[in-house]
Structures are given as C-alpha cells and as structure tokens.
C-alpha cells in the first residue's frame, strides 16, 4: 500500500484494489437461455443438511413444483427448474468435489415451460414465524456465493433487536455483474424484497451499499426510491473485499461485529441484491427458486453476458449456448478471488453460483511459479481486512503449528478473501495454507467432541 492510498481510504482500512474487469458484461442486459435437455439438481446446493427428494424416477414434474423437501430448519427445499420427467436420482459430480445425490430431470422439449401457479401470499398478514416459513419454502439461499439459507439469517435470536437491514450491492469481486444488472433492470423487485424483509425483521431502516463503479445502478435505484422512505442508497468507494458482510457493516454503520459473532449482535442483518430481488418476485406468488442470473465471461467466449439460467444446467450446455470456442484451462464458479474451479463440464449451475469464468493459460495472471521465502514486506499485513498477521500465520503454517495459529494469531477470523495471496510478492500461497490449517483444526475439534 503506498502512502497515498493510506490517506485517501475512507472505507474500511486495509483490503486491496483490484482491476475490476467488468467491462465485457456490465452493459449486457440480462437474457434468458434455453433449457438444457437434461438438468442435474444436486440435493445439497446450500449450507446445511441436504434436501430430501420427494419424487420418484419416472414421475413427471411441472416447472416450479416441489421436488425435494427441507430436512429440518438448517435446510431448504428444491423446486423443479423445468417441466419434464425424473430420469434418475443418483450420485453426480458437483462443484464441491465429491459426488453427491442429485435429481436428474429430462426436460420436455415441447413444453411451454409455464411455471406452476400457487395461491398468492398476503405478506403483511403473516406472523413472524409464518414469514420465516414462507421464506424457507421458497428454497432461498444467499445468492451472493455463500449459499447460506436465507430464512436462517432472518431468524434472529429473540434477545436481539434488528434496527437496520443492510443490502449488499458491492459486488466487489472482479468480472461479476449480476447484481449490477439486477439493480439496473429490476429495481422494483429489489425494493419490494427489501421492504418485506424490513417489515419482517422490524428494522427501522435499510441501507443499500453500492460500490462507486456502479453509479448507473445507484441512479436507477434512486429514481425508484420514492415510496420506500426508510430505504437509502449509499455509494461506497470500490474496494475489495467490501462485500464481506462484516466489513460492509463497518463501512455503512461503523459497527464492528465481534470476532466469531454474527451481524445480528450489532443489530444488523445483511442480504445480497440477488437474494432480495428474487425474494421480492417469488414470495408474493409463493413460488420457489428455480433459476438465477449468472455472469458468464472470460477468454474464448463469443457472447459474454448475464444470463438467467435454470438451476441444474450443466456447464457444458451453458458454454455451448454462449459460443465458447477457446480451450479452457480453468473454469471458475463464482468470482476470481473466492470462487472455486471445477474439474468437469458436467457440473451443474447451483443456487449460490453467481458467475462462470473461463480462462485459458494466457489469461490467468501468472507472474512466476517460483515461491520465494517471506521477506516480511508486510504487504499482507496491510491488506488483511481482518487485521490479522498473514506473514506470521504463513510461517507458522509451513511448520504445521496450527494450534498457535488459532490461539495466538486468530486464524479462525480469516474468511479467506485471498487478499494476502493476491498481494504476496514472494508468491506464497497464504490463504491456501490457512484453508488447510482451518480444516485440520476443525477436524481435530470434531474428533475431540466425539471422543
């Protein structure tokens, strides 16, 4: 961080400035893609317990129909993304790595794909519990990438009071433009969704925080704000990883979520743009989440853009539709900083996937493969948004001193934004080390509790 950056930063301290790379898709209006002949719908697309399939192979389903119910509170149901025939329920490759149970739907080629209709909901008349149940019934999860069930986030422990709903419009990951387009094209859905949630939470106000590289979205929302008084739109300087909810709360409200704690402890619930605008559309009609907007971009893609994609669409089908001609070496689901690569083109698009980035060998910014020793330049210390000491953590990680990392250097506060690895001049894979350390620690903690 140069001297100048230090003085001009008005947002959260630390973090990094990334090339935003959004120019190819930010002006592409959201378009719909055709249905793939076969959809793969994993039962576990969210954080929590997998859903339980309630359909049988050979059964016909209508688009929007419930096909898997939630398994308890920490789970969400799944609805049919297209009308068709249940071909099988079997193990299938997913983005997470191991094969998981998935429902395979063969879509009716000739179907008009009209969504099943349900009795509309009278939202204002619902009790808090009924509202939470209605949100769970939509199968909604955080569409920003976490995949955390939305209704769980709304179920604030009774001893806490929520005064502010923060709407996360940062979209701080490079390349991604889905939230940007949604704000431009569907501001009413977003504002309706926001208002519903404010009402349900009893929040006095809602703040939509948008990074200042999306001034047109800020303007579009401002134009629709009349009638939504307690909702305000705030422009925040573009700065990675501002979309992390703890940081956005700090920037907008100057409240600090305690280490290991949750936003409700400071009176806030954070929801992402895509989540709220989908809720705004689905909830009044009592419908389920069956499709989402995905930014498809990268090298070798003829028609980069923002597409409405039925959940379960295999990547291969998606690439065919956008005219992919290159030779992909990296397929990334999500953003380039926190997204994961997939090994197979059969992997389907699931609820939390906000982007599909395709890179070949030339486009991955590779400086050098040489890893040098840490020179303690402190760039990672200046970059870590949680104010950890990645330099020290990295040195401990190479020596497998995981307990010291956790106890003395607060490893568990790392949310794996990747700033340290991005900035490290010695090419040390810091965040990768931390991921390993965290999973080792989690496993040993699990062992201790079970034994």
């Amino acid at each position: 961080m140069s001297m100048w950056d230090h003085f001009k930063s008005k947002t959260f301290s630390h973090g990094i400035h990334l090339p935003d790379k959004k120019e190819h898709t930010k002006d592409q209006a959201i378009r719909r893609l055709p249905f793939a002949p076969e959809l793969v719908i994993p039962l576990s697309q969210h954080f929590g317990k997998p859903a339980i399939a309630i359909v049988q192979p050979g059964q016909e389903v209508v688009r929007g129909e419930l096909i898997a119910k939630s398994d308890g509170f920490m789970s969400v149901p799944i609805h049919a993304p297209a009308s068709g025939l249940i071909k099988a329920i079997k193990l299938h490759a997913t983005a997470r790595g191991p094969k998981t149970e998935a429902i395979i739907i063969q879509t009716w080629a000739g179907s008009n794909q009209r969504t099943a209709s349900f009795d509309p909901l009278d939202i204002p008349s619902l009790t808090h519990e009924q509202f939470i149940q209605a949100v769970q019934d939509t199968g909604m999860v955080g569409l920003g990438g976490a995949g955390f069930p939305t209704h769980v986030k709304l179920s604030v422990p009774p001893e806490y009071r929520i005064d502010t709903l923060v709407v996360n419009g940062c979209e701080c990951e490079p390349y991604l433009t889905t939230d940007h387009r949604l704000m431009l094209e569907h501001p009413e859905a977003l504002l309706h969704g926001t208002q519903m949630l404010m009402h349900a939470l009893g929040a006095k106000q809602a703040i939509i925080g948008i990074e200042d590289n999306k001034m047109d979205a800020i303007q579009a929302l401002d134009e629709h704000l009349s009638g939504f008084e307690p909702i305000q739109v705030v422009a925040v300087p573009t700065h990675y990883p501002q979309g992390a909810e703890k940081l956005l709360i700090k920037v907008l409200l100057d409240r600090e979520v305690p280490s290991g704690g949750f936003p409700y402890q400071v009176g806030v619930v954070v929801q992402n743009i895509a989540t709220l605008s989908q809720l705004g559309e689905l909830l009044p009609h009592n419908q389920g989440l069956i499709e989402r907007v995905v930014t498809v971009t990268g090298t070798g893609i003829d028609k980069p853009g923002n597409y409405i994609i039925p959940l379960g669409t295999p990547i291969q089908f998606l690439l065919d539709q956008v005219g992919f001609y290159g030779s992909a070496s990296h397929l990334i689901l999500g953003g380039p900083m926190m997204g994961s690569t997939v090994a197979s083109l059969d992997v389907p698009i699931t609820k939390p996937v906000s982007g599909l980035l395709v890179f070949d060998d030339t486009s991955i910014e590779k400086v050098s493969d040489d890893i040098y020793p840490c020179i303690k330049c402190a760039r990672c210390v200046d970059a870590c948004p949680m104010h950890l000491n990645p330099s020290m953590l990295g040195q401990l990680a190479t020596k497998h001193h995981y307990d010291a990392m956790q106890q003395n250097f607060h490893l568990m506060d790392c949310f794996e934004c990747g700033c340290c690895s991005y900035i490290c001049p010695s090419n040390i894979p810091l965040v990768q080390y931390f991921r390993i350390a965290k999973s080792v620690l989690r496993e040993s903690a699990l062992k201790e509790t079970t034994s």
């Binding site: 001893e159 009071r161 980035l357 910014e365």
Partner: protein
Amino acid sequence: MIELRTSPHMKSTLSLTYIMRQVVYALIPICLFSIYQFGLSALALILVVTSSCIFTEVLFNKLANKTSKNKTIYSSLKDNTALITGLLLALSLPPGFPLWMSSVAGFVAIAMGKVLFGGMGFNVFNPALLGRAFVQAAFPVAITTWTPAGLSDRFSQFIPTSLTLPFSIPVPIDGFSGATPLALHKFEGISTTLASLFLGITSNTSLESPPFASGSLGETSALLILLCAAYLMARGIMGWRIPLAIIMTTLITSGVFYLFNTNSPSPLFMLGSGGLMLGAFFMATDPVSAPVTPIGMWIFGAMIGLMTVIIRLFGGLPEGIMYAILFANASVPLIEAISQPRKFGFIANKKKDKNKENKS
C-alpha cells in the same frame, strides 16, 4: 485439459524480483554520483564489494549443495538481493577504504549476515550493516579515514589507500584525508552548511577550509537519496512508516538537545549529515530485518532515530546510525510481540452486546 486450483485466481503483478530490481535501479544514481565525487576508487570499491557478495553467495550455495532439477548454484542470484547488499555495503564505506578490506566486508555481510541465518528472508540483521560493523571493529582506522570529494585527479588516479596490499594496514597520506561533517562537528566544533550537506556538492574543495563534502560513498547527498527513495515510494515498493519515524524522532530528539545546548548540532544538521538518510531510507527499510506490524514499524523507526542521536551526541563515535539500526534489528521480535495489530471484531466487551442490552 482443465486444471484445478484454489482461489484466488488473480495475482498482483508486484513480484519479489520486480521489487528487488527496482531497488537496484534506485541505488544506481547514488552509485553514479559517488563515482562522480570520488572517481576511480569509488568505482573499484563498488565493483569489488558487489562481486565479493555475489561470489560469497555462490560459494555457499555450492558448499550447501543447494541445487535441484531447476535450481543451480546461481539461482539465488536471480532475486538480486546479494547485489543490493553489495551496493548498500559499498555505499556505506569510505571512498579510500582498502579494496582487500572491502572484499572481507562483502564476504562477512553475505556469509554471516545472510547465509548463516538461512538465506534471503531469514536474516535477523541487515547484512550490509553487519558486514560494515565487522570491518568497523576489525579495521577501525581505515574505516574512519575519509577522503574529500571532488579531487581534481580522481578519474585518473586511485586514492592511495584503496590499493593497500592485502593483509596490510594503510598509512594515511596527507592531502587525501579529511574529516566528515559529523566528525568535524564532534571533534573540532566546525559546522558544515546545510546546503552542502543536502546537495553533497561544494565549490570549495580546498582541504584547509571546510566545508567540503566528505563521507562514505553514498551518504554525501541527502537530496539524491531522498529522490531515489521517493521513486521507490511512489511505486509502492518502499514503506514510508520507518523512514518517517526515523526522521521525526531524529528531529525531535536533536531538537530537544539543541534547545538546551545550542552547541549541539541543529536538528537539520543531524538529518543531513552522515549516513542517516541512507540508513533511514535504504538500510532500515530492509523488510526482512524490520517488523511487519504497522505500529511495530513506528517503534522500530523511533528507536533508530533516538539511538542515532544519543550515539552521535554522547558516544565515542561521530556516527551512530549503523549501530542504531543493528540494535533495532535485534529488537524486532520484542517489538512485534508488543505491537500485533488489533484484530477486527475485538472490541471492548461493554460495547459488544449493545443491541442485546437495549432490548432487555
């Protein structure tokens, strides 16, 4: 062929080799100016010290058998750190320093300052300063024998002491020695004008009537050092906290002493004289031997500034920056232990559950 990787999939273009190369570029103008000032001897000194450093590094790579499929004994030179150590060490030596002694300094800098600790990234002390401290102890007379800058025959003739035979001690020769501004002030009470301190150039090269610019190769022009450091800072390569802390502490501490005793050097004289600028900007900022925590950097810098002033005013030596930096280097683990950053989300417990209390 699809490759699996873990995020992040983007990488900053700022690499270690780039950083080190930029540091070398920033040192070149200072080297050139020293050659302009001191002539052949300066050129020879720079060449001998850097080649001694590089040779030592290769030698130890060979001894340690540090080779593998894509690594030769020359691989570790790619990062330029041995070159930087050599250049900095040369710039910290007096121009007439015997060449054989300077090769010893280079050897010690790399062997004891760097390789012994495990190579790049692991050294506790700044290697260049460690090398210099060694020769300061081993050859106290030679390292405090200064030659005035701008001698008329400097480009055709070596300073005689430069060519002292190996393992013999140079005899100071009249006409080729002069005192540094710091020594002049300390031992004879003569002040050098600020202009010549900062610019390093004086029109008057007569030996009898100071001020003339004299000192180690790289420390005669504070302005040039500032410019070169500004280049590195503008590129985001050099940290600004440590130099700023050193300069501020030096100004404040010497200012306090100046208030009580106007015979002591003025704060600006303190700043412009001796190796303070070179030390503050190019030696203390060596990231490996400095703290990584922001508060630690301030403490580290303040410690150097304070120690320098105290050594200069009360010590037996006219210059103190070298020992001040080495002392601060040694204190880094302690400094880091007390200066870990306040982690995000660690707030006083009272504030923590504000919203909870409101409700009840």
